[in-house]
Assembly symmetry: C4
Homo-oligomer: 189 residues x 4
């Protein structure tokens, strides 16, 4: 295998990132409006609320993955290992499933199954991303791989998946943690 130049690897991955994040909003469906009155039709929008929250969680989570993906590909010059390539493909597979499970949660907002599917896709994405990180660091000949970051995502999404068995609201809060953490304003740069 010829090594794949980083430019093309990023170009393809960025394409998938950009499409997946934009399609989130496409899956949103406007509710049927029965009233011509502004106040009454705002009340007809209430079912849209969990949909919008789920949209924001998915959007910010994909954005976080994108930033981390950049940080990782920053470290390599060429993609010359089959393992890096295929763990990236596996990661992109889970990434493209995010709009699908987001739509599932939007259609059945507090249903344990849709929340379970949502958590499992995020779990799959974070595990395959940690695999990608592991192979990248191993290629660089580093002995110490940043374990804390690699374990945080998988543990969080495992907890979210388990909590759907008991409390769907709890799973919702767990899934929103990364979005809240990164998006809220901070004092530092």
């Amino acid at each position: 295998m010829h090594p794949i130049p980083k430019a093309r690897f990023e170009q393809f991955s960025d394409g998938v990132f950009a499409i997946a994040i934009t399609l989130l909003a496409i899956e949103l469906r406007s509710p049927v409006l029965h009233s011509q009155d502004l106040i009454r039709s705002i009340r007809e929008l209430t079912p849209l609320l969990p949909t919008l929250i789920t949209f924001v969680i998915s959007f910010v989570t994909i954005a976080i993955f994108w930033v981390n993906h950049h940080q990782l590909s920053h470290l390599v010059q060429h993609i010359d290992r089959r393992r890096i390539l295929w763990s990236n493909v596996l990661f992109l597979l889970f990434l493209t499933l995010i709009p699908f499970v987001t739509q599932g949660v939007s259609s059945y907002p507090f249903h344990p199954l849709t929340m379970l599917a949502y958590s499992l896709v995020f779990l799959g994405a974070s595990i395959s991303f940690s695999m990608l990180r592991y192979f990248v660091h191993k290629t660089l000949g580093e002995t110490r791989v940043p374990m804390t970051r690699s374990i945080f995502g998988p543990v969080l999404y495992t907890l979210a998946a388990i909590s759907t068995l008991f409390s769907v609201e709890m799973a919702y809060v767990l899934l929103a943690i990364p979005a809240l953490y990164y998006f809220l304003p901070k004092s530092s740069t």
Copy 2:
């Protein structure tokens, strides 16, 4: 955080821009044609007219944002500030909502609520874009940030949002102003 090279920042943003602008037309739905006669079926197309106007307004507004986004990223070399990164993510979030609210206006053309949602998404996009502009100029160490341009959009879209309470037609005209301004031929280059 490693600084993100401008190339990748633009690549991802351009991807979202390109997809959002192309999906506008996907949301268009051809009306059901009952007649095989050309003249009669043109009459069956009349409900498509507000849809087409809204499509053009959204298309040109996204194109204007794209040109301005370029002008801004032209100024920076690396995206090394978390604030620039996340105000861009916030901007892209509103950008991806434009096809959704465009479809809303297409489905209920002169409904105050869909026009309000349309105005608010444009307002969110223009405010987050002004935030992005502010952080970029601050990073460059400039003391004078171009205020006029940063305030024009937010003020216009606030007016449009308020006017939906009184006159939907008025809001329509306000929202079309940037499109008309940039798209109409001018004497200068």
Copy 3:
């Protein structure tokens, strides 16, 4: 206005090209199959035939526009004229409408109105592309602009639009000419 580097201009345009061409196939809808038998269900596919022909015509036409767009942007270094920028935006607007009118023709294959809309969108794309070509050549200070190529498309699609009033089949043949011309094997390279 800062001149826009060609890279970003092409990146955005290529994104729109790639999405528009891929969405053509998304608009295809599989027919309902009633029979489990292979031969009988192939017969159930016959309504798909005009859809597939229209898909191929649109696909190849977009590909031809893409090749010509490259040939044109090859000539310029920076996009520093507002006229080049906005004639490109106008061209992309018609480009994104191609999947929409393709779907229209697929839904009502031999209807004069859908063929008229299809012809008019191609006409708009070819006129705005000729405008783009004109402004690019003018920027380069050339006195002789290649007129033959710039006029061929607009004339062909005007003829197609007019012929929908008399014969839909005739319009079909006219619209297929560029696709047939470029795609058929030739002796030269």
Copy 4:
């Protein structure tokens, strides 16, 4: 014809690859859930199983094509032959049809016709890719073109197409071979 720089050729192709692969998941449709109970609604998901397998097969097959496409464009500097350009357009045409036939198989999982269409689109993609490979190697002035690789895909998908006449399950297994081969972990890098 001016030679097309490889960058733009890859950019456009990568865009189509990225969109086609992401749209696979968009075609997935969540089933209607009647029960609020987790265990019962998992049982309601069983019809989704062949859909998911087909999704994975299509996803990995597109990823394999992407890797091979890179390996090929690695060899050329400029796309200066019309034959290379148009065999690439033909390949992309079949590529964009993959989400469409994937959706067909998802809708009618063990129907001979959908499996036949699925096999034929893969056959078309692999034949046009072999044409592309042939023209690239010929441009390089090589006398020996790697025949084994160029023949494997077409032969496999011809067998899959024929086997749909006798056994749909057999076709399924044949179509999954490349995905299984590339994706399963190996000892070497």
